[in-house]
């Protein structure tokens, strides 16, 4: 192709102009504003998670957490939790309001911790701890002109022996607790 011929010259000009335009476009594209962080979809996901968590936020008067050592039995009971002193019996220890008061060995309290030895029912450290709670609750009841109700929630691992349950109830009874409720997880079946 000879550029000196008139027809070919205009073609070359057109090509040249197209090339320049392409360069211009490229430069223009380079000057587009820097993209902002795209977090809209992340915000949507977080909002959904937030709503779900707000809905499932525990509004119970006492906080109970299951663990490998404290798996609660399932029950068909419908009574909700109420505010009371929590006595928890896990596979390893007895706790009062989340504070360990006695260790368990093979699901039983060591006889040295009992008032009357192996056959005894009263667990000394549990009794002392509950007595302290009772005094505190009685003081609050006196100041607020409310009667002392002596309510206790017994949160026990599903594999706890009946013997240990009765020992705990007996000890709590001796420490002036009168009303007991067992705590179980929702979801039992009687069909």
């Amino acid at each position: 192709m000879d550029p000196n011929t008139p027809g070919n010259a205009s073609q070359v000009d057109a090509l040249w102009a197209a090339k320049r335009q392409a360069k211009k476009d490229k430069r223009r594209l380079r000057t587009t504003p820097r993209p902002k962080l795209l977090i809209n979809s992340l915000m949507d996901a977080f909002t959904i998670i937030l709503c779900f968590l707000l809905k499932s936020f525990g509004s119970d008067p006492v906080q109970i957490r299951e663990s490998d050592d404290l798996k609660l039995p399932r029950s068909t009971a419908v009574q909700p939790l109420e505010d009371a002193i929590v006595i928890a019996i896990s596979t390893k220890a007895i706790m009062v309001q989340d504070i360990k008061v006695a260790d368990l060995r093979n699901g039983a309290v060591d006889e040295s911790m009992k008032r009357d030895g192996q056959e005894g029912l009263l667990i000394n450290p549990l009794f002392d701890s509950l007595k302290e709670k009772v005094q505190h609750l009685k003081m609050i009841a006196a100041r607020t002109n409310q009667p002392f109700e002596g309510k206790a929630l017994v949160v026990a691992h599903s594999g706890t022996s009946y013997r240990l349950v009765t020992e705990v109830l007996y000890t709590a009874g001796q420490a002036e607790f009168e009303k007991f409720k067992f705590v179980a997880a929702e979801g039992g079946s009687t069909n």
């Binding site: 820097r34 968590l53 399932r74 029950s75 029912l121 594999g159 706890t160 009946y162 929702e186």
Partner: protein, 169 residues
């Protein structure tokens, strides 16, 4: 010719970022307090500790005095002799008699337990009390299940006032 460099605009950030920070902090906080399993309570009367029979002498009252003992063999029923059913053992000591409802497939027969309770309830509509006892090594979940069956459905309760007794009598 000196090339004029394009001056970059300062990046101001997304206005949603402070909200994102807040949400990110709220999520662990709410996760900590979230409850995925609901907990319920079962009312129980304080255990009668003596190993002696927990109620009045049976022949001195008209009440049913229903007592159920859970042993490794099954369920043992005791009632006021005036109201004793034909399927109940006549023995006064749990240990000296076989269970009224033996275990089935190595598990407690709770369906039969319910049937027997329904049978008793049919004859004693006003009665709500039951005394439950168990052998020392019976697990807590078995006791809770027995309490569930004893209580019955909320619309038609059976024996919903549960008192525990120590061991088997």
């Amino acid at each position: 010719m000196a090339k004029k460099r394009r001056q970059e605009e300062p990046y101001e950030g997304d206005p949603l970022i402070p909200i994102m920070n807040l949400v990110c902090m709220l999520i662990p906080l709410l996760l900590y307090g979230a409850v995925f399993v609901r907990f319920m309570t079962l009312t129980v009367n304080a255990p009668k500790i003596s190993r002696a029979p927990a109620q009045q002498p049976p022949d001195q009252n008209e009440a049913l005095n229903l007592t159920v003992m859970i042993t490794d063999q099954g369920f043992h029923f005791k009632v006021n002799p005036k109201h004793r059913m034909s399927w109940m053992s006549q023995a006064t000591e749990t240990a000296s008699s076989g269970p009224d409802i033996p275990k089935k497939d190595d598990d407690w027969d709770f369906d039969e337990f319910r049937r027997k309770l329904l049978e008793l309830k049919a004859d004693h509509r006003e009665e709500r009390n039951i005394i439950l006892g168990a052998e020392d090594d019976i697990q807590f979940e078995v006791l809770i299940k027995a309490m569930d069956y004893s209580r019955g459905p909320p619309e038609e309760p059976l024996f919903d006032v549960v008192t525990l007794t120590r061991g088997v009598v």
